[in-house]
């Protein structure tokens, strides 16, 4: 069973790694963030599969941390992007 679980982790990682081609191709930053998002989810799945294969219970906590922080980069990116688009100026520049 352990061998199968590791194999599944390898397959999922290989798949999401192919998705990283989107980081190379773009065209926009949003597409790149999407690829990172996909790899984040794939990473959570891989950590869980490897943890089940090795029987190490603590790996679930790593997956938990990844899951909690998975979308933070995307939030920060959108926030910065929207801030720029609406012309939100830094106060230092406006005075």
């Amino acid at each position: 069973m352990a061998e199968f679980l590791v194999g599944a982790a390898v397959f999922i990682l290989a798949m999401v790694a192919l998705g990283l081609m989107r980081i190379l191709r773009g065209p926009g930053d949003a597409d790149r963030i999407m690829a990172a998002q996909l790899l984040g989810t794939g990473g959570v799945a891989a950590v869980l599969l490897l943890g089940a294969a090795s029987g190490e219970a603590a790996t679930a906590d790593i997956a938990l941390t990844l899951a909690l922080l998975a979308a933070f980069a995307a939030f920060a990116f959108v926030k910065a992007k929207l801030g720029q688009a609406t012309g939100e100026s830094r106060p230092t520049d406006s005075q």
């Binding site: 069973m1 199968f4 679980l5 599944a8 397959f11 999922i12 798949m15 999401v16 192919l18 998705g19 081609m21 989107r22 065209p27 926009g28 949003a30 597409d31 963030i33 999407m34 690829a35 998002q37 996909l38 989810t41 794939g42 959570v44 799945a45 869980l48 599969l49 089940a52 219970a57 679930a60 997956a63 938990l64 899951a67 909690l68 998975a70 979308a71 995307a74 939030f75 959108v78 992007k81 929207l82 688009a85």
Partner: protein, 97 residues
């Protein structure tokens, strides 16, 4: 019983892996950013969900299983929000090619 549980894991994990495959194909092949976003959410929701479902019988305790499901729910919540937010920036700048 052991055989049935292992079979359950096999089917669940394979089905999950398939959705990751589908998500990647969509991310690479779909023509514009919004459709690619759609493909991405499938991997988030179903791919990880099915992997978690498949792994449940392999857990030692009920608490470990609950934690697993909790992780999936967290990814669902933040993934859905991130997708909605990315869509907002896309809409603002107009859908790209």
């Amino acid at each position: 019983m052991k055989l049935f549980l292992d079979l359950w894991t096999l089917v669940g994990v394979l089905a999950g892996a398939f959705f990751f495959f589908a998500g990647t194909v969509g991310l690479l092949r779909f023509p514009d950013s919004l459709t690619r976003l759609h493909a991405l959410s499938k991997a988030d929701n179903l791919g990880l969900g099915l992997v978690v479902l498949g792994l449940l019988p392999q857990m030692d305790s009920v608490a470990a299983g609950i934690k697993l499901v909790g992780i999936w729910l967290l990814v669902l919540l933040s993934g859905a929000t991130a997708a909605q937010w990315i869509a907002r920036t896309l809409r603002q700048s107009g859908p790209g090619p």
